[in-house]
Point group: C2
């Protein structure tokens, strides 16, 4: 009996010792990761290059191809084990050089407003469209108005993002159907075109673009769609109240071209023990054509590359393979993500965990995790290591648009969740520029991802 | 026996019901507070006025007096029960119109650098000071160099803020003695003047001012002190490595004047049941003279005023008295805080809790709380109400410079803790301007403070 107790105590002591040694080691490695990221980061310099020397990189554009070449070269400078380009055909939509709109309260009495074509939209006729406007807040309202009230008018979707929601992505989700489906649905009622209130919580004169879709409706039924700045949307709404018969003029000459060849950019550090187990770190290389795409998703691109650089620098040998994937065409088609998924499926690639950074280069608050109960619990047990770094938000939810394609029953998909308050001030607009990114906030995001990658390897997720 | 069990169950049910009703009510009120703050805030508009129409407001300046008048008028517009000005004599230091410095590697070979006088410093002679430079990282280094190496030289304090600390206020604390005590200590060794590396984590050309002190050293022993931008500090350090005999020229004509009359601005909503129990919400009205003091501490000023406005709007009657105090002269003397403390002591004012916002208008992360065990535990039990609003950081620590004077064994002092990553990019420099404040981040801070005020009243702290 006595022997038995001694044995139990012995094992408890051993266990505790191993456990606390583990804890100490883990804390040291994470401290190293943060120290390298904050003292010797490449994220910010790389972002400056990507944003300032390359700039906006819409799928199919020359800049998108330049960004493929430059990120490949940058990954080479890190000294990875392998780097390759994964070819993929992507849509090519071009804004053209002319977008113009005004409100005409009475003939000759016009006010110019700030607009931009929505991504994927057809152009207006070259002489523009001028018609009456009907303002709605929802598709239901559109339905109840019916064809008789809508036919030959311009539909103005003006449901604002809700300010009282703390997570601004929620407000975005609740409003984005106006932009994505507005033209498709309004066309059913004979509308000539749609104007959509810009998806931002800010009151300013900056229009925000973003993808829209015609679904399966025939080409001849398609109608042009543009975004209008929030201040101009408020103005238009006020003027419509005073004069429901006012007219709106709009002109844009954007155009869809046939798909063109582009690439996902992929790089790897081979795992020493289980090279076939992949830890994926990803972001999307394409951006919208306004601004320079620094937050969406330049930040994610440079963070993903820098994670591998930092993890090479610290004193830890990875058992699993670290793979960075810079997806092409997240914004308007996700052709890169789909191609990556198809090839992974064919090759039976085992993605243990995939982490995407696509919510801006702001102070990281935590992670949104899409996985089963068991693995979520495991990741929750690592929360303590992040306490010191003020990363506290571990919730179940969607991860990132590109990596969600990889979902299966066993793997773990994670989206970095930075502070979301400023994101939609810039998102998809000319305001999304390098100057709005804070160096430390960006670097803290890099460190948070790198720490999660390390934990996933060390604790054998 | 049976009866007894029924009775116990009965009381448990009653207790649970009251408890969950309480919870529901509390959640509703806090939701209302956030909704008013995010949908119908005054914080941002007020800050725009304070920053753009008044601007920097150093103690003793005309702008400081304008800010006293304007905040009094603004509090009147809220409809408080009483508003008064509390007279206080404050220091008056004026920068003058000329600051200038250059590095002279060899005669005629000069490079201009970006500098600003430290607050409270004496001027240089009108012809400036030109001398050799000795670079140090600490007072210890200064001591070991001794008089023989320092006499008649300019001491250059160049210890950077540590980037690897997540809380940037910690990095600031670890570096600020160079600015505050540098001139006093260097003067002991016969230095002619001091240059101090700007206290920021950014690498740029913007010098950051802030208060310095000569302590009790006689006027004739005092030497001028100026800050140099971080990029210029790095340049100077590199050039010193190449040529230890280079010279530095500096000129400033700042000046200390006799104290002048100013005011704390105070307003109250009287409590309905315990009007003598005070819940204080505070910030400081003065700022440095560079920039417009939007983050330091315009943000705190407008938040404090807006807290009272919002709490008047929601459907809750306060038992205790809500008092807003806008302290004068936090930056260079805290004469306002000391006067407020002295008068409170005389009148035996009972401050149950005092909350200060003086860490910038960024996304609120939580609160730093200075109180006894019991009350800290009580406040911790409210953490759950903030979960939804992503306010998670409840730690024991210092609160705010002004309210710390009120410390006693029973009361609670709280500092709002916004995200600190960007604060020192702007702090005490020409970069601290309205454009760097995000509306939602500011409003979330207002709501967090208002929620804590409500909880303190409702749960009878």
């Amino acid at each position: 009996m006595n022997k038995c107790i001694y044995l139990i105590i012995f094992f408890i002591l051993i266990f505790n010792k191993v456990y606390s040694q583990n804890d100490k080691f883990v804390n040291e490695i994470i401290s190293d990761i943060y120290s390298v990221s904050l003292n010797d980061s490449k994220s910010y310099d790389w972002l400056e290059y990507l944003s300032k020397n390359i700039g906006p990189r819409l799928s199919g554009s020359l800049n998108a191809e330049r960004s493929v070449k430059w990120t490949k070269k940058t990954l080479e400078s890190i000294g990875l084990d392998s780097i390759w380009l994964q070819p993929v055909m992507v849509p090519k939509w071009v804004r053209g050089n002319f977008e113009y709109a005004f409100i005409e309260s009475s003939p000759g009495n016009t006010i110019n407003v700030n607009v931009c074509a929505l991504g994927g939209s057809i152009p207006t006729p070259s002489s523009g469209i001028k018609s009456n406007v009907i303002e709605v807040k929802s598709f239901k309202e559109l339905e109840s108005l019916g064809k008789k009230n809508i036919k030959n008018k311009i539909v103005f979707f003006n449901r604002p993002m809700q300010k009282e929601l703390i997570n601004t992505f929620e407000s975005y989700s609740n409003a984005v159907n106006q932009r994505y489906d507005g033209a498709r649905i309004a066309s059913k009622y004979g509308a000539l075109a749609v104007i959509v209130r810009s998806l931002t919580l800010k009151h300013d004169y900056v229009p925000h673009t973003g993808v829209m879709s015609y679904g399966n409706i025939p080409i001849k039924s398609r109608i042009p769609a543009m975004a209008i700045s929030t201040n101009d949307a408020d103005l238009l709404s006020s003027l419509l109240n005073l004069n429901p018969n006012l007219k709106f003029f709009m002109k844009q000459n954007c155009r869809n071209f046939p798909d063109v060849l582009s690439y996902n950019v992929i790089g790897e550090i081979k795992g020493s023990k289980k090279p076939n187990d992949i830890i994926l770190i990803g972001a999307h290389l394409d951006s919208w054509d306004l601004g320079d795409g620094s937050h969406d998703d330049g930040a994610g691109v440079v963070q993903s590359m820098d994670v591998l650089r930092i993890l090479k620098k610290i004193n830890y040998k990875f058992n699993r393979t670290l793979r960075v994937v810079l997806f092409m065409n997240e914004e308007n088609g996700q052709k890169g993500a789909i191609e990556y998924f198809n090839i992974s499926k064919k090759k039976k690639t085992n993605h243990l965990i995939a982490i995407e950074s696509d919510a801006g280069g702001f102070t990281p608050r935590g992670f949104s995790i899409n996985t089963n109960d068991l693995k979520f619990k495991k990741i929750l047990s690592w929360k303590k290591y992040f306490e010191k770094y003020q990363v506290h938000y571990f919730v179940r939810g969607q991860s990132g648009v590109d990596i969600e394609y990889l979902k299966n029953e066993n793997n773990v998909l994670v989206g970095l969740r930075p502070d979301s308050q400023r994101y939609f001030d810039y998102h998809h607009s000319s305001s999304d520029i390098f100057e709005t990114v804070n160096q430390r906030e960006l670097e803290l995001g890099t460190a948070a991802i790198a720490s999660l990658v390390f934990l996933s390897d060390f604790f054998q997720l």
